[in-house]
């Protein structure tokens, strides 16, 4: 507790807009349908979600849409896809917040995005030619300067606030929301578009496969027979504002904290040291205790080690709370996951519904977590969204339906 001495409960921030594209749906309406109307993991054998095209790649790919024709250049260049997804999610988020382009021009609007590949351009053809001994042209150098996802989105929307891309592996999206929160508290901005965006490049897919972290089936979070993750792509972006705004908040960001395991380059700390530290700090900032948390959107990648460390920590500290594991709908969207799942957490708080933990069917006695088996309903007030990442990063977001004290409806 001494290590939290300078931390205090901070004023909640308002999440006034939501945007999301993933294998669970293009846009919030499709996403809600998938999350809250899909059959449970316990009742059906895992299979790809209905709105998913897995014919070409071994990951949860976004369904292509005809009205994306104007973005053909993005889709043709794999390294630019995070920029496309960020545009789609950000424009939906702004629309749902009711912020027009004209209003944007009069606000200090920041952009803070997490991504593992949206920071630099990736030209597969160029690299193949170069490493084969050919002498390809240097256009990719120029593309590096335009493909950084936060800078790209900021310029695309003509914004005038700070822009930052954070690459903290799988916690990136959550960390971007936490950094954005500090910008608002420091009065650097009036509004921040924040979250994560990601695509799966072949080199990333091969890398995860080389580490033997990929399942050949749809992932099975927390399940006794889990055997690895399914990769996914997409973006989840929220409009974050200080509470004094004319726009009605959908939910509130109560707190955020990050911490490092300082343990191993690829494996989580077995006792979830960093996760525990991040959660305690996020709760203190939120003026909440573990007992106040109604549900958790778990990281739950379905790799043996992640789910074991995270699951044991959940069983120890949050056995009263419902646990939701959503990567069976989206795959693991890496740098976008924290943003995508912050949106899912917000939707659950707004609608009082938790999605099934798709892919789970058998309890692992080593963990003891029994996540949601079907869509559940309840009067949920406070929730945690957890992200763990390569290299031992841990991030926890605390979201609330209301900004007041635990138990308050005000």
């Amino acid at each position: 507790l001494n290590s939290q001495r300078h931390l205090a409960a901070t004023p909640a921030l308002s999440i006034t807009g939501l945007g999301c594209v993933s294998a669970a749906g293009i846009g919030i309406a499709e996403t809600e349908k998938t999350l809250f109307e899909a059959p449970s993991g316990a009742e059906v054998a895992p299979e790809p979600p209905l709105i998913l095209d897995t014919s070409e790649q071994h990951y949860f790919k976004l369904r292509s849409r005809e009205d994306w024709a104007e973005y053909a250049a993005f889709i043709a260049a794999p390294g630019m896809k995070p920029c496309l997804f960020a545009i789609l999610a950000a424009e939906e988020a702004l629309s749902s917040a009711g912020i027009t382009r004209d209003e944007l021009a009069n606000l200090r609007v920041g952009v803070c995005l997490g991504s593992t590949v949206g920071g630099t351009n990736y030209q597969e053809t160029f690299l193949q030619e170069y490493f084969s001994g050919k002498l390809p042209g240097s256009d990719p150098l120029e593309q590096d300067y335009v493909s950084n996802c936060a800078l790209f989105l900021s310029r695309h929307l003509g914004l005038n606030g700070p822009a930052l891309t954070v690459n903290n592996a799988c916690t990136s999206g959550a960390d971007a929301i936490g950094i954005a929160a500090n910008w608002l508290r420091a009065d650097l901005c009036d509004v921040v578009l924040c979250g994560g965006t990601e695509t799966i490049l072949t080199k990333i897919y091969y890398g995860f496969r080389s580490l033997m972290l990929c399942s050949l089936q749809t992932c099975r979070p927390f399940d006794r027979a889990r055997d690895g993750l399914s990769l996914g792509e997409g973006a989840g972006i929220v409009v974050l504002e200080k509470k004094a705004t004319k726009r009605k908040p959908k939910v509130h960001l109560l707190g955020y904290a990050g911490a490092s395991d300082s343990f191993h380059p690829t494996a989580p700390h077995p006792e979830a040291r960093g996760l525990n530290s991040a959660a305690l700090k996020a709760l203190k900032q939120s003026n909440r205790n573990f007992a106040d948390i109604d549900f958790v959107n778990a990281h739950a990648t379905a790799t043996p080690h992640n789910d074991e460390a995270e699951g044991r920590w959940l069983t120890k500290n949050l056995s009263h709370a419902r646990i939701s594991a959503t990567k069976g709908f989206t795959g693991h969207t890496l740098g976008a996951a924290g943003g995508v799942e912050a949106v899912f957490t917000a939707l659950s708080l707004m609608h009082g519904k938790l999605p099934a933990s798709r892919g789970f069917s058998n309890v692992d006695p080593e963990i003891g977590v029994i996540p949601t088996l079907g869509v559940e309903t309840g009067s949920y007030k406070s929730a945690l969204s957890i992200s763990l990442g390569f290299g031992g990063t841990n991030s926890v977001l605390c979201l609330g339906r209301t900004e007041g004290d635990p138990g308050s409806d005000q």
């Binding site: 300078h6 240097s138 822009a163 395991d261």
Partner: protein, 321 residues
């Protein structure tokens, strides 16, 4: 948001050499980087280009082998520079009293270029079986922060900022806010990049005539009430970047008095070479100069694509006395 933030430790490696003293000697005009001229075959024929190359780093035996074998060249530079900054700042950097009250921010525009190229080359040459798990995990952009965290025993938050030429300002801002809001007492900030064969090729092919630079500039930033530190170089009082239509004006800048009468300016960029994170090295130089002169207010501004970036430094001598 309260309290002051101070630069309490500095570390450095670049084409100028390894260690803080190289910066001091450069300020005094006693040291210049060694320029290396090379010929590069490009799509336009053979072109000449030049580099400032940082010296090779020998890692201490205290770093676990499992970390060492995954470390990219830029990560080794980061360790050298970060470790120097930690030893500079802390009375006992090897035994942090509260490791979860120390954060890490790594700023890198391009990450582990050489290792990422090696990883990609193996895939091109051997197909999917060429993907090496150790090279993959060492080449991801947040590997540097992870390796610093493990090697230095730091358990606070980490962030890897990768925003091309806004990387330096973004990194310092993340650290500044963590400290101001009491999330940690200290932040180790390591900013820089390496050049690689591929990057050199791209620069030469594009016709760039700039001398390419590499290196890592490290800072320890500390809250005013932080314990266990040896000194304060200067106060970091402002870090901002705004794009496009509403650039900061001089009058908005707290340190505007420096522009009131005859301001003087020095640019050190030519000493470090061209890199997107070069401003971090200039801020190191400014911190060293500010530390020795009570009158100095330092301000750094740059602009690309219309962004304006400002870092405010002012002497900490008054607070110490």
């Amino acid at each position: 948001m309260s309290g002051q933030v101070f630069i309490t430790g500095l570390g450095h490696i670049s084409g100028l050499g390894a260690g803080r003293n190289a910066l001091l000697e450069a300020i005094e005009g006693k040291r210049l980087p060694e320029r290396k001229q090379i010929s590069v075959r490009t799509s336009h024929g053979v072109r000449e280009t030049s580099l400032f190359t940082a010296p090779e780093v020998t890692l201490p035996a205290t770093i676990p082998e499992s970390i060492k074998r995954r470390m990219a060249r830029v990560a080794k530079m980061a360790f050298f520079s970060a470790n120097e900054a930690m030893q500079d700042a802390f009375v006992n950097s090897a035994n942090l009293v509260e490791p979860d009250r120390v954060g890490i921010v790594v700023g890198t525009a391009y990450g582990c270029l050489e290792l990422a190229s090696a990883y990609q080359r193996r895939i091109v040459e051997q197909g999917p079986p060429g993907a090496s798990p150790s090279i993959f995990s060492g080449s991801v952009q947040n590997a540097i922060a992870s390796q610093l965290s493990i090697s230095l025993g730091i358990q606070g938050p980490t962030a890897t900022v990768t925003t091309i030429d806004q990387t330096t300002i973004g990194s310092l801002r993340v650290a500044f806010d963590w400290l101001k809001f009491g999330e940690v007492d200290h932040v180790l900030v390591a900013i820089g990049d390496e050049h690689s064969e591929l990057h050199t090729y791209l620069a030469a092919d594009s016709g760039s005539t700039e001398t390419l630079g590499e290196g890592i500039a490290s800072f320890v930033l500390s809250r005013e009430d932080a314990k266990g530190i040896k000194q304060r170089y200067c106060e970091l009082f402002d870090v901002q970047a705004f794009a496009g239509k509403k650039p900061l004006s001089v009058s908005q800048f707290e340190g505007a008095e420096v522009f009131g009468s005859a301001p003087w300016a020095r640019s050190f960029a030519p000493l470090f070479g061209s890199m997107a994170t070069c401003s971090a090295f200039e801020i190191s130089m400014a911190a060293l100069m500010t530390s020795s002169d009570l009158r100095t207010r330092s301000c750094f501004q740059t602009s690309r694509f219309g962004e304006n970036q400002t870092v405010g430094l002012r002497s900490a001598l008054a607070e110490i006395s």
